[in-house]
Amino acid sequence: MTRWLARLALRFYPLAFRRRYGEEMLALLEESPPRALAVIDLLRGAMTAHLRPSATDASLVDSADRMRASMSGQLACWVAFAVAGFGFYITTEDAPFTAAGRTHQLLGATHLAIQIIAVLASGAVLAGALPLIAAALGRARREPRLRRLVSLPPLAVLLFVGLTRLMELVSSSQPAHHTNSAGAIAFLSWGLAGLACAAVCVVAARGALFAVPMQRWRLVAAFACGTLVTAAMVAIAVATTLYGIALFADASHLAASGNGPFQLLSTGVSLAVQLLVMVLAATLAATSTRRGWRAVALD
């Protein structure tokens, strides 16, 4: 189990680092069985390698693969961002929030802006991803490994949707405003299942992206769409911050109200968590995008 986790942790390293040291690190892990601490050490090492990329290793990745790596980063960030954004939508969709939006101009304007930018960003995701998906599907007919990669995300999403429906049924059978430990465990399990589903989608998409040969213009076009999505993430994070400030200033009773199917968190805390995820995802996506364009410019 620890060896499997250690091998998994290796996948979190930047592409250039893995190309330079990956095989050696695998050999080391085979030679001396890793302990649990080694997995943490590898994850910490992966984070450092992302924060301080090596100039020497960068030459091991051409600009096409650098764009692929950046697009995978953008996708992972977008998935995390979309989960937080969906949480924001669910948190603020009820009638009292709509009424507060009509009364307080900044609340209404930022909420509308978030929705418009989210629709534009989703359009950019589709515009960037559809040609790549079409290319992957075309090739998947001939390659069984690619076929498996392409079929994984829909399966994971279907499973998660089923689990969500089950969770809704369980929560609707509970008395209103009733919190219990079973509800908390169910909510936590649902969250972990969502994370697993997102991870499967991102890893499978990344695998397919690297497995399909593609013309350069097609990669640049998809990467440009990813850049628009990144800009949208930054804009939404700013608008959500303004919305949060306006909510605390103008409708603090709503910020203090309970949120979620089991009322585990207040609306204010939920919004703070969602905003934190958004800011982290937008920052990481912006870093990945900048590195991708730098590689394209140097090519």
């Binding site: 050696e24 590898l42 020497t56």
Partner: protein
């Protein structure tokens, strides 16, 4: 790690064992390869052709000079520390 390589080229696992023997600290794989990457970037070590999936590493000229500087500093600090302790013990 530079001290470990002072004796001759070594690959990652051999460096880990040697550092553990020298200092009692076992380097994790992430720490080891992060440090190797930084040392290579700074031109203090270089890798040799791959042997059985692993690159042996060796000190460069700059690495030897940096290690010698560092060891001389440590020697000076250790000597001063021991002298001061001796004086303190003699007077106290």
């Amino acid at each position: 790690m530079l001290t470990s390589l002072a004796e001759g080229p070594r690959h990652g696992y051999a460096i880990t064992l040697d550092v553990e023997q020298l200092s009692g600290v076992r380097l994790g794989p992430g720490t080891l390869y992060g440090a190797l990457s930084r040392l290579e970037d700074r031109g203090l070590i270089e890798s040799l052709p791959v042997e059985d999936r692993r690159h042996p590493y060796r000190l460069t000229g700059a690495g030897s000079a940096a290690l010698a500087d560092e060891l001389r500093t440590l020697q000076r600090v250790a000597r001063s520390g021991l002298d001061r302790l001796r004086v303190a013990e003699a007077t106290g």
